[in-house]
């Protein structure tokens, strides 16, 4: 890898980090390979699948399309930070489990992170808001109906 590096400061799941990173390092690789947060998955590395979705300053981003240096000064949240410290599932995760909204689980962290972001902005998202969220996520296993059911339940329509 090119030796060209930069120093960045990022907060990841609440923990501040000062890191020296190659300028071409992707945020997804920073999370996965440098920080060992492998819950963020790379399904395409091209933007369409959404499996690499994380929150950056509260907004959803595709970590495969963002450079680590672009995250300088930002607060990043990943799937590893969602459940409680004692391992108890977050209510979003609980809803996914309850509605069988995952099979292989590869796409799941990205969808859960997007849902965390959505519910913060809009605690009772409308069907349109939920559909808009799901436009950005591919899942090859579930056929989506159970994911939609989990999201509806979280919106209070279950």
């Amino acid at each position: 890898m090119s030796r060209d590096t930069r120093e960045i400061t990022v907060t990841v799941n609440g923990a501040p980090k000062r890191l020296t990173v190659p300028v071409r390092l992707l945020l997804s690789d920073l999370l996965r390979d440098v920080l060992g947060l492998t819950g963020t998955h790379v399904g395409c590395g091209q933007g369409p699948c959404g499996s690499c979705t994380v929150l950056a300053d509260g907004g959803t981003v595709r970590s495969c399309l963002m450079l680590a240096v672009q995250a300088d000064g930002m607060e990043i949240e990943t799937i590893e930070g969602v459940a409680a410290g004692d391992g108890a599932l977050h209510r979003i995760q609980e809803a996914f489990r309850e509605h069988h909204a995952l099979q292989c689980g590869f796409c799941t962290p990205g969808i859960v992170m997007a849902t965390v972001g959505l519910l913060r902005r809009s605690p009772h998202p409308s069907a349109d808001e939920r559909a808009e969220l799901m436009e950005g996520h591919l899942c090859r296993c579930t056929g989506y109906r159970n994911i939609d059911a989990a999201l509806a339940a979280l919106a209070g329509e279950g």
Partner: protein, 778 residues
């Protein structure tokens, strides 16, 4: 508590890890001193390799090793396990030697310190080609004068011919009142799991053993194949399928990267990782489906189909991969589905073409067969003026006619003998669930308003739960907790949960006391894997049989502990109790501890430990069945096909967990829908695939999916001790038939005849509509 656990929708044991980011897929594995591999792939569809220059790449920063075909010249090709005795063994090499035969064929690998360096250096490998003619069209490839021979030594591109012959089709055609003919074209698409393939080859285990972590559906078979290609004993190899992000058949193949990464790792003495890129995936992982079926049907005056003949071609791409003849074999063996059709002949050719190798994908050959049969049924009904449901009923095998020896056979799996099911009952149920009559009425109204709406129905029978066997090993340790080792290798199916349900019910213990382990050949000594809808039914049966043996042994040990005869002991709530003596019982934990090595051998026992292994040998294929109904509407202005409504009644025998089975059906329907309406791997005239990723290979999203109403029937199979059949693939198989039928039905009033599976993308549908307008104007 645990009694009655089977058949209930318990939530999955797998989910907590998957939901919290704690799963471990192959790309999550990081080993000390690990290096990274990039694969240099052919950019030509058919060419001689004149020269490969690697000096510049070798000099690039961080590069450790480059291997080309010359370096692995001595390694055998990758096996194809379903070749027929007279097949042409057009086998794929680990790295191309002298020639390339498809865009994407591995030519060289570069191993470097990090993946960025490996990929940069891969760009510097210079390959000089001399182009040869390509052969893309299936009929041309199979002809006597093909534009090219992929393997001139065979003198033909036809690698295999699979034949089926039942009854006397010639006599039936001679006496037929009507003969129908149609050629159905089925396009090429792909499984495209969300996790691409990947490997980590680790040569650093004790004694120089190799560990291969690979995203596969059948680790034990990979171990055997790798041992075979490298010429080393299986005991030198450990294969681990970690968490796998979907497979759908595409990971039920043995791939060159699984060999070359090991070769490189052994040379360098360091672990080597390769993770397939998404663009790479579309040329490097097997494709699916592409077939041409020329079908004829003989029909009597009452609409009874008396005979069918089939000539089919499968575009196998440039080599016969692990399960290469299976699509042709299944589609020819299963074409008649639930219909009696007493006379049948099929000749199914597996044909080599200048494309990525093609093999199995969810449903294998079934979706193609169902598509052809059901479109043919609709056409017969239409042309003879018979109601299409009525026509199906007239031809359908009844419950009383089962078991029914169909006279055909499926490669590797065996004779086709339908075991159990109620096909007409299933059709009735789905029509009721769909509200068929009401829908017909509303369709007529919609048509009167100028809308283009269609209804499709597909009935099918499907091979599931194939053998040869599966293993289950149940072990109770001193904690009283139960560990199950299974030879299945699930990757999203929830098989661990299903197995835990079966074992917990057998031992009458809480479901959460059971841990199921799989996928590591050092942990599970023997196994076959997860494919062909076999995991739950076959591995589940093996595990439950082992649990039953454990329970029997536990009773013997308890009889010593309780000083009672075994016949006086009953098993209640995970304890051995003396019948009629309340309070006199021992727990599973106490029994397990009595059997440990630091005690004496319990009286009457010949072995220590509460630990039993079972093999479930499969006596024959069990056949699931289902009926699907789809309603579609086509937008006249954009050509978009929308599936408005979907109903399915599925019968896969005894159900272990209805929530999981329904999830399998949903996911299957989405894949069928995608294949028909959205997904295609097309090639240009030079043999270059026109797909580079999900930006031009469109998978269904939530927006494309209809509501799905699901009903179940449970016809137990006598071939499984617990009556279970497989449920993994039926959703896809049925959806292909039902949605294609609905699209065809929608277009009937416009004079468009559908003979194939599209894909019915908006531009393709616009072209059909335009052609229909022109035809009408002419």
């Amino acid at each position: 508590m645990a009694v009655g656990l089977v058949g209930t929708p318990v939530r999955r044991l797998e989910d907590h890890r998957l939901l919290t980011g704690k799963a471990c897929y192959v790309a999550d594995i990081v080993l000390p001193h690990m290096l990274h591999m990039a694969v240099v792939r052919s950019t030509r569809a058919h060419a001689e390799i004149m020269d490969i220059r690697t000096a510049a790449a070798l000099a690039a920063p961080g590069v450790r090793l480059i291997l080309t075909g010359e370096d692995v010249r001595d390694l055998g090709p990758l096996p194809c396990i379903d070749l027929f005795p007279d097949s042409k063994p057009a086998l794929h090499r680990v790295l191309a030697l002298d020639k390339v035969r498809y865009v994407g064929e591995p030519v060289a690998v570069v191993i470097a310190d990090d993946v960025y360096a490996a990929e940069d250096a891969a760009e510097l490998v210079e390959i000089y080609y001399r182009d040869l003619p390509v052969v893309l069209d299936l009929e041309e490839a199979a002809s006597d004068a093909p534009p090219a021979l992929l393997y001139p030594e065979f003198g033909t591109n036809v690698a295999n011919i699979c034949r089926q012959e039942v009854g006397d089709p010639d006599a039936a055609f001679a006496g037929a009142a009507h003969v129908f003919e149609e050629t159905f074209r089925i396009h090429r698409y792909a499984a495209a799991p969300m996790e691409t393939r990947g490997v980590v080859a680790d040569p650093t285990a004790q004694g120089g053993r190799i560990t291969l972590h690979t995203s596969t559906q059948f680790p034990h078979l990979v171990r055997a194949f790798l041992g075979g290609v490298l010429g080393i004993p299986e005991s030198e190899i450990r294969v681990v399928a970690p968490d796998v992000g979907g497979g759908f058949g595409a990971k039920c193949e043995f791939y060159p990267e699984e060999v070359v990464s090991v070769v490189a790792a052994r040379r360098l003495g360091r672990p080597v990782r390769w993770i397939e890129g998404r663009q790479e995936h579309f040329v490097a992982t097997t494709h699916a489906r592409e077939q041409v079926h020329a079908m004829r049907a003989a029909v009597d005056a009452d609409g009874v189909v008396t005979a069918v003949t089939l000539k089919s071609l499968t575009s196998n791409g440039a080599a016969m991969f692990t399960l290469a003849t299976t699509p042709a074999s299944i589609s020819s063996a299963m074409l008649r589905g639930p219909y009696r059709i007493p006379n049948y002949r099929a000749e199914s050719l597996s044909v080599l073409t200048s494309k990525t190798p093609l093999a199995v994908y969810r449903g294998a050959g079934h979706p193609q067969a169902v598509l052809c049969m059901e479109l043919m049924m609709d056409r017969i009904a239409r042309d003879l003026g018979i109601d299409r449901i009525d026509l199906r009923r007239r031809n359908m095998l009844t419950k009383q006619e089962l078991p029914s020896d169909r006279g055909t056979a499926i490669v590797l799996a065996g004779k086709v003998v339908y075991d159990s099911g109620d096909y007409p009952g299933c059709l009735d149920r789905v029509l009721e669930l769909a509200g068929w009559d009401d829908r017909l009425r509303r369709q007529a109204e919609a048509r009167a308003q100028g809308r283009i709406v269609g209804l499709g129905v597909a009935c099918f029978v499907e091979e599931t739960a194939i053998g040869p066997y599966e293993t289950g090993h149940v072990r109770v340790d001193g904690s009283g907790k139960v560990t199950v080792l299974t030879g299945a290798s699930p990757h999203g199916q929830g098989t661990a949960t299903a197995i835990a349900q079966l074992v917990a019910e057998e031992l009458q213990i809480p479901f959460t006391d059971v841990t199921v382990r799989h996928g590591d050949t050092d942990v599970v000594a023997d196994g076959v894997g997860t494919f062909a809808s076999r995991g739950g039914a076959i591995a589940g049966a093996a595990a439950r049989l082992a649990a039953h043996k454990v329970r029997e042994k536990a009773v013997l040990i308890a009889s010593e502990l309780l000083e009672a005869a075994a016949v006086d002991i009953e098993w209640v709530d995970g304890r051995a109790a003396i019948v009629g003596v309340p309070g006199r019982s021992v727990t599973l934990a106490e029994i397990a501890r009595r059997a440990t090595a630091w005690n004496s051998l319990p009286t009457g026992l010949s072995s220590f430990n509460l630990d039993e292994v079972a093999h479930h040998q499969v006596p024959g294929i069990s056949f699931a069945n289902a009926a699907h109904v789809a309603e579609v509407e086509i937008d006249r202005d954009t050509g978009t096909v929308r599936v408005l409504d979907y109903a399915v009644v599925h019968d896969s025998g005894r159900i272990i967990n209805p929530m999981i089975v329904e999830g399998q059906v949903h996911g299957g329907i989405a894949q069928g829908l995608g294949g028909l309406l959205m997904e295609e791997i097309a090639y240009d005239a030079a043999g270059r695939p026109l797909v580079s990723g999900f930006q031009d290979y469109f998978l269904p999203t939530s927006a494309e999916m209809p509501e799905i109403r699901t009903g179940f029937m449970e016809s137990p199979t006598p071939l499984n001790p617990y009556g279970m059949k497989g449920a993994g693939e039926g959703g896809t198989t049925g959806a292909v038939g039902a949605i294609a039928g609905a699209v065809a039905d929608a277009l009937v009033p416009l004079g468009v005849r559908v003979a194939g599976d599209g894909p019915f993308t908006p531009p393709a549908v616009m072209a059909l509509l335009a052609a229909a307008r022109k035809g009408a104007g002419a």
